[in-house]
Symmetry: D2
Subunit: 463 residues, 4 copies
């Protein structure tokens, strides 16, 4: 092969290697995304750093990353050792330098990305291969080890089962603070929080557990004020920021909360913020020691699969790709908001005014017959919700009063509405990262048809 | 395309579909393994049952299994929703019938496989997408919720960090029972266990936490006798069976322990028993209710990746393939044992007599210079261990006295040896599932050379 | 798994199966493209129709589609039998109903797609797993078998080596007709063609071999007039339409040529028109019998790889996707044309006026120093071309007089320029299917810089 | 990540790179096969040498290796440019240094492998991305260009359609030499060959076209004696060695033929000798110039897919892997021979004595009712053959007299039997490379059952 062409190829190779070297040295999200071919090359290089891929390696331990199925081996890029070590999920494995490096890089890229979303002061983060609920439980267990005599968690109500369960699983006692109605919005009752702290005694409280991302008409908790309270009373503060990285509304609350008050950790899901399959959560904070403690609390090694997904995805996006996704989402929220408002008006309904929630929207269902809101068979979806799902719309929630739900020892009235007595039934829809204009258009068409059909049905039944 | 050929193809298709139908109906490990092409077809069919793969689906929820990277999507067979639901890791997801079915099938195949290994009475099991340590922690948290006032765990010493840490993470207080020396074997001190139970009071004890698979010269705990004690005192009993499914010695202890005494759950890793990448553990037991409680204790959904790996692998092996792996392993243990014994004798050492441990072996290092056993730099590996690792031998452990290790509040003397004062230093090697004859041969050659080199080195230094 | 979700999944499955059924029945390019997951499922289904994937198949023939490497098997979706049969590349293989069906579907989709590009009267086509040159040779061999005593081919000059060589390989004698200069355009000298036919005698002529797609300033041959001549003299007419499907200029010439005259076959590459890797060509025509004869002329079976690529790609595009690619290309040609014109003017050059060529453009290089146009070392690229290639611009050609090239017995003056004496040197660039706006922008920037650099260099050298 | 582990990883990396370097420098089949991970890495490196994978590359040519479908791109390891150049299939592409290197390496490894099979004196070979028949046609076209006035090909009869058609396609006139019966074997009639040469005149003969691998009871042609004749008369000699590399019987004939006589090229299929999907053939010879001429005869570039398959497969096998396959095949031939003989005797039939054919075997069918041998419907398979195919046995041929077949202008009597009047009907089966013992066992069982069934059926019909 002639030398001039090889020279060009070798220039290209050098430019690629310098990109990789830069990544390894700087450990920052690259400005522009990597091509899939470059990512695959990098994954190969990492895999070949693990002992199971050494030529001539023999294994006489109890775990040698032997993989039986070629399909399985392939899907893990031939990485088999997982991440972490007995001692610590963030520790390095002697047998697996490649897997260890990958896990560290994934954490480093995540840290950079979290800062990019607006939480500039973030000091450290760790990706846990467990979804948000279990990760919250681990954070709470870490806190409990620091405050062995405390038992309560102050928790402004949010009707999402796994975050409530995370407290039960960790053996804590949640103290539910009901929300206040402010216009159409459900918001944090700060006075009740402070009263409860005084009543129980700060030392008996493991932490305040607040929430940013949630379904309208609930809006993000008043995280800044809660942070100030926590600082005042020296109580730890954990923020459930499940899908909040995609909204500057949420990230600014956390950044500001830390600036003026206390936030020990904020936890978010990888799938909801980074468009990867379900499986991981990121625990981040403003103090490296606490994040290290959480990592050390995880006993033993763990699946490297969520780290692979996040690593590949962030490299593929690059900073510019991720920013574009965030900007597109914001634009789609406005577009969805206008559309729902328009469709709603046509059917005599109105978009609830929940401006503080910048991810999800709610449309009143005041004129809709009760039957549409009745739960339809198993799993408690409503007739209206089912009809939309049958029309290939996923993700809407139809919330009507009447459901009670008992989790652990606590019984919630009107579960699903974040409130004991919200004034009207409603339907929610979100503009989450990755949503496309054509999805919004199709949704609006199907929503319109479904509402119309319900009205006709109701008219017939009323004849 | 001519009809006779199509007819033959369609016969083949029917025979394939009947294989799949049988799998879905019987939910048993098939006798013969499936080909990769059949497995891929099945994975495709499952993926297309999830809403993110419905043609024309629009998503307006906060989690719609959108996957940014084609590389990532592909490696998950386009499954994105993970497994489980807010309430329960074993629950069905409305949006993800395929993922849910896959998770259920993986559990069903695992149950069948566990019975096949000899624990015939197993009633239920659940695959958790967390490695053994964290899974043990979850089991302990579930037990704590049933015994809220208890705080101690009786734990016969085994020097493996993550299982000790699982107890700390769960907020329990481990009571360490030192082992007895019986010939070369380190075994359970039953009298001390019983004395400790009486001393602390059965009601204050969360559980007895015993271990089967471990490194020689420690042998599996006397699980049967411990089970009898637990039954007598009405104390829960958890068995850490990390890589014990591969040895009938371990599985028979558990089956028999349940028959005559009490075992609430036994926990094992998927990677070590089923040749998949690190990432999952199976919690199994003889009482479906307790296993369901463990599943419900996990808050929220989770990665489906370990379920995919196990599902694909078990289908690929079939019962006959798995049995062959188990039989091969047993044969290789004998072969390795003979070989180490022979190499050892050549160098004036002997294979320790640890017959009750049917997975790992230990070779005395009595004639080896101290220097070989000194820890070499970071990570506390010995010179001898390092030299073997440099020769591409992974998995041996060189155990010499002198290491202290503090985990939580407990300090262990001679950490790594399961004992405060084992009579001699030694090197361990295991014949784990998947090991090949050629690996054993190569290991023995490298061991021989390394021991010889150390002796020469020592001779030179002594001149 | 609950029945309502399974029902929804099974609705989705039915809608998928009806899409596939429709494809198999109608054998038309679907309006909307298929998702990759659907395509993979279809490929799996096809693969499982081949005997090598039948469960329990045993093979005692000399060719049983055993594939050694899992990597290789995977990349062919486990298809191994190739396409065709000893007798005929379009024949069905008894052992391989799936491969055979795939090959037939690929041809059917291609036929539909060719019609869509504007050659509505196309009656049949066959995908050959050989690139355009060798496929042209096969067509010529088929024609020779019909006209055993003829030996000449009338060929308006086009400086592209493989099409000239196809005639030599087939054992024919090409009669080169030099082009006419019409304004900036090089076009067919019809009078010379007719004179040559009379001189040689129609019966001694195997065919007229014309060309549509070519590099400016040559424009597509006057195919319609040539077709009329061929009809008049009863001479076969073959059109080399290498990358012409992407331009309605080319496709309309062929459609119209057939309407008023004679065209026996037109041949195009799959990579250049359908964005697949190099490897296939499509021979199409207005008479099924002749196309069948070409297929039968191919002795034996052949690689199925180009059929797989085309099949997957056309399904992935759908009619709407392909139309969009064609429309985008057209738009990009205008954009590129404006840009080159602007950059050219800046440097004292002008875009040649070659409107009849709707794929490629030429920029005069009259003011550029000779040195830039000198061939630079091996492979005869010019300094200017090399400099652009080094700047990661591929595909431009810098054409300057002076190169002689002998192929077979024929020597071409000023090879590369389609002419013995084109008035000026020039640089060509094409807007081929798939080109993006950002590519055009980057190209224009690099072209500008490179031209500037050459002028500076020239100025320095002239000092 | 700690330095000692990284050092080990980097040792492993160096050892890998030295393996690759050695491959590139020596261009020999490695002794031991490469792991799939190493092969993938190498493919990645090669792909990244092609311009379409250069970071920031812009393409303004007519062919830029843009690939629309991610599925398609992936299956070609992101290589898109194919192999070869307008001028020559073995030429280097400026845009595609990686693809070009891959094609060269594939040829180099093939050359080494052909020598390893016993044809030690092979001087050069070229992999053509066309199956054997079309590759033979290209070789004949190359020969014709050297002997423009010759028109005949002397061809000892072998009833395989594509090799006969290759001569027709190339525009040659085959002279069929009927075989001699020698015991049970059909063998070359040397006297007739020599007589025919004299009759037609050596200068009018393009070549002698002999065959090695074939179905029993035909045996390999007397290649050595034919080679001597060709040398004597200065006639080119082409050997169709379709699947003969797997048998030393065939390879030694070719090596010896070249030593004492004349062989210009021998052609073999890649799928049948190297366990890759159908799609390529290797033209090899003892004179580099002639092989280069064949490569140059191919007009234009071509699919790189067969080169990828062969390259990956040979690397995966290594010399030791390929030798093992050859040895296993030989053993299986003996095993199959014994088995067929045994099953045949049970049913009153005998294994024909065709020792010179070391790949395939024939069992007489003298006692089988005529009906079993009648052709059953379309595609001319017999009832017996169909019944075996329905029982998932592929590859047997049931040969009975009575079929006439006309190809081109030649009509063959008793087509399929290589002879106008073979004494008895028979069934053939081959032990081709890759066949397993379990396949042979299953085949023998099914054969036994099928023969028994036919006898019962015949008995019933005779009642």
């Amino acid at each position: 092969v002639a030398s001039s062409y090889v020279r060009q190829a070798s220039n290209a190779k050098e430019s690629r290697e310098s990109i990789i070297k830069q990544l390894l040295e700087q450990r920052k999200l690259p400005q522009e995304g990597f091509s899939d071919s470059l990512i695959e090359l990098l994954m190969q290089e990492l895999a070949l750093m693990d002992s199971n891929n050494f030529p001539g390696n023999v294994g006489v331990g109890e775990r040698e990353a032997r993989v039986y199925s070629a399909l399985v081996s392939k899907r893990h890029f031939r990485l088999g050792h997982g991440i972490g070590r007995s001692g610590d999920i963030a520790a390095v494995q002697p047998k697996a330098a490649g897997s260890s490096l990958l896990a560290k890089l994934a954490n480093a890229l995540l840290l950079d990305t979290i800062r990019l979303t607006g939480i500039r002061s973030t000091a450290a983060c760790v990706l846990l291969p467990m979804a948000t609920g279990m990760s919250l439980a681990l954070v709470l267990l870490a806190l409990k080890s620091l405050r062995p005599t405390a038992k309560y968690i102050i928790w402004p109500r949010i009707d999402q089962k796994s975050c409530f369960k995370s407290m039960i699983t960790a053996g804590c006692e949640p103290i539910v603070i009901e929300n206040l109605l402010d216009g159409d919005e459900l918001t944090t009752d700060l006075a009740s929080v402070e009263a409860k702290i005084s009543e129980l005694g700060p030392d008996n409280i493991i932490c305040v557990h607040s929430t940013t991302s949630c379904f309208a008409p609930r809006v993000p908790d008043r995280v800044v004020e809660l942070a100030v309270l926590c600082k005042k009373f020296s109580i730890p503060h954990i923020v459930n920021n499940a899908y909040g990285l995609q909204s500057t509304k949420c990230t600014h609350l956390i950044e500001e909360g830390n600036r003026v008050g206390r936030i020990d950790a904020f936890v978010q899901s990888t799938d909801k913020n980074f468009l990867v399959p379900v499986g991981g959560a990121v625990v981040a904070g403003f103090n490296r020691e606490f994040i290290d403690l959480v990592a050390k609390t995880y006993p033993g090694r763990a699946s490297g699969s969520p780290s692979i997904d996040v690593f590949v995805t962030l490299l593929s996006m690059g900073a510019s790709g991720y920013k574009k996704l965030l900007a597109d989402r914001k634009e789609m929220l406005g577009y969805l908001s206008d559309g729902i408002s328009r469709v709603g008006e046509k059917h005599g309904e109105r978009l609830l005014n929940t401006k503080k929630n910048q991810i999800s929207l709610a449309l009143s269902l005041s004129t809709i017959q009760d039957v549409a809101l009745k739960t339809a068979g198993q799993h408690e979806s409503t007739e209206l919700g089912s009809m939309l799902f049958t029309r290939y719309v996923s993700g809407t929630r139809v919330v009507a009063p009447g459901r009670r739900n008992t989790i652990g020892n606590h019984t919630f009235t009107n579960w699903g509405s974040h409130s004991n007595d919200y004034p009207c039934p409603y339907l929610t829809a979100a503009a989450a990262i990755g949503i496309t204009k054509s999805e919004v258009d199709t949704f609006l068409k199907r929503l319109d048809k479904t509402l119309a059909k319900f009205k006709r049905k109701a008219a017939v039944e009323n004849e």
